[in-house]
């Protein structure tokens, strides 16, 4: 612990001036890994001599990726999926914050609700999706519901654990200044739980992308999940299938980064 705190004291000075060339070093590392990945992919295609409809070469996929974005195949579908993910995440995360608070506050609520929460989480969303599509139609609403359901659990658990694990000594300090319940929540418990809650949101946002694709498979007119089905089925355009998968992956990375940026703004300047 002692060595730990020394290290921590040394950090603020280093924050302004990262170690010589560490940013460059990171860019080089990441680029090298990406190049290696693409080369390996190409190597497998060449050595295995796979046809395009099994495993297209990276340059074929890249070309299709660019053309799909330019000819308007990709954009409306990506926009639709993004909308579903963002709405579903917002609804699910908001509900989870409230539920997490209730679970943290009341042992009774936890006892009564947590078996259902875990059971709902253990039921594959893939199996629930057709039912949800049946209830809420094949439009935007059913996807938002699926995304919200899948986001709910990790955020609710993170909120509950975060609120519960607030240091008792800090709570006693706030009590000594006669903090009210609401003040405790807003000035102490929520800020203290924030790193954990944001961790739950990081997990949640990547799951929301999965939820949107599954929702689109269960029935939908537009979206990246629909495009994947089309590319594999009636269009039989496997490079387009790969280009769509690439778009889905990029969407997940971008959304994850967005959560990380929000998190850094909120909790980034702590010890």
């Amino acid at each position: 612990m002692r060595g730990h705190s020394v290290q921590r004291c040394a950090k603020p000075a280093a924050a302004h001036r990262p170690r010589g060339g560490s940013r460059w070093r990171r860019i080089v590392d990441v680029t090298a890994a990406a190049v290696a990945f693409v080369l390996l992919w190409k190597l497998i295609v060449v050595v295995g001599n796979y046809p395009v409809f099994i495993l297209p070469a990276p340059e074929v996929v890249a070309e299709r990726f660019v053309s799909a974005w330019l000819d308007g195949t990709m954009e409306p579908n990506a926009a639709q999926t993004l909308l579903e993910v963002v709405l579903g995440f917002a609804v699910g995360a908001s509900a989870a914050l409230v539920a997490g608070y209730a679970l943290a506050r009341s042992r009774l609520v936890e006892r009564v609700l947590s078996p259902y929460l875990v059971a709902a989480q253990a039921t594959p969303i893939l199996a629930l999706a057709p039912l949800i599509a049946l209830w809420f139609g094949s439009g935007l609403l059913s996807k938002v519901v699926i995304c919200a359901l899948i986001v709910f659990f990790p955020v609710a658990v993170a909120t509950m654990v975060g609120l519960r694990s607030v240091d008792r000594r800090l709570l006693e300090m706030a009590h000594s200044f006669r903090a009210t319940r609401g003040q405790l929540l807003w000035t102490l418990e929520l800020p203290a739980a924030m790193p954990g809650i944001m961790g739950g949101m990081r997990v949640g946002v990547t799951l929301a992308v999965v939820g949107a694709i599954i929702g689109e498979w269960a029935g939908g007119e537009q979206g990246l999940g629909v495009l994947i089905n089309l590319a594999r089925g009636s269009l039989f355009d496997i490079p387009l299938l790969f280009a769509t998968l690439l778009t889905v992956a990029l969407l997940g990375v971008v959304l994850y980064l967005a959560v990380v940026l929000v998190e850094r703004r909120i909790v980034g300047t702590r010890g």
Partner: protein
């Protein structure tokens, strides 16, 4: 306990010193009997009392000024009044240049000074200190005792200090109350004879040494050796209440593949 006095509570572990402080502050309610301040009973956490805990207990996501302002915010002070009071308090404890620093950037002593400024924020008439300097090294502690007296002179507070150190008690206090454990009761109430202004010069002379040995005599036989049952109960309690140190709060518990560690 008369106004404007400095009283030290001394005794081995388990004699209820910290509990007594929490009763006075209203953080705990007495099972029997009552606590009165200026003739009015203490029924809950009381604005007339400022509490300095063993650890600084600062909020890691707030800077020094915002930590001192915390009780003022809770009490609903306006922004302008808060600003003025915080500046005064930071000046009082000599941390004015560090108002923007986060707790983890301050030394242990500075953090505890900040905690004292925070305890004084609402202008309490009684300041309670629960072994406030026990985490500091011996040299820093000696300086802090002098600093505490300086603060006491500049504010209108009565001080009740819990300590393990006889020399600390004799140096700081007008009266030293000696407690014994199991069951906790007052063994002695020793007045320190020397005038406070003379103490600095006479730190080691007979008068203080005599007082110290009186206190030491009263403490004889009062050990904190627990019985076997108490020991196992204590170990159980410690295991239940094991906590993450405050310094580690706010550190994200999840992986960050995007190099967050390097950025800090």
């Amino acid at each position: 306990m008369p106004e404007r006095q400095v009283v030290a509570l001394i005794g081995p572990n388990g004699c209820g010193k910290s509990t007594l402080l929490r009763l006075v502050s209203g953080l705990l309610r007495p099972d029997a009997g009552s606590i009165e301040l200026d003739g009015r009973p203490v029924t809950g956490p009381d604005p007339r009392v400022g509490f300095v805990f063993q650890e600084p207990r600062l909020l890691p996501w707030r800077d020094a000024a915002a930590n001192v302002a915390y009780p003022l915010e809770l009490a609903g002070w306006s922004r302008d009044r808060r600003e003025q009071q915080v500046t005064d308090l930071l000046g009082l404890v000599g941390l004015r240049e560090f108002r923007g620093a986060r707790p983890h950037e301050l030394s242990g002593g500075m953090r505890q000074r900040l905690a004292i400024a925070r305890a004084l924020a609402l202008g309490p008439s009684v300041l309670l200190l629960d072994e406030p300097f026990s985490a500091l090294d011996a040299l820093t502690r000696e300086r802090f005792n002098a600093e505490l007296l300086r603060l006491w002179e500049r504010t209108e507070t009565t001080i009740l200090l819990v300590t393990h150190s006889i020399s600390e008690a004799v140096y700081v206090a007008d009266r030293v109350v000696v407690l014994s454990p199991r069951p906790g009761h007052v063994v002695a109430d020793v007045a320190v004879p020397l005038d406070r202004t003379e103490r600095d010069a006479n730190l080691d002379v007979l008068a203080l040494g005599g007082t110290a040995s009186t206190i030491r005599r009263h403490l004889e036989g009062a050990t904190d050796d627990p019985t076997r049952e108490e020991l196992s109960a204590e170990i159980g309690r410690q295991q239940r209440t094991r906590q993450v140190p405050i310094e580690e709060l706010g550190v994200p518990a999840w992986f960050d593949p995007f190099g967050r560690e390097d950025d800090r």
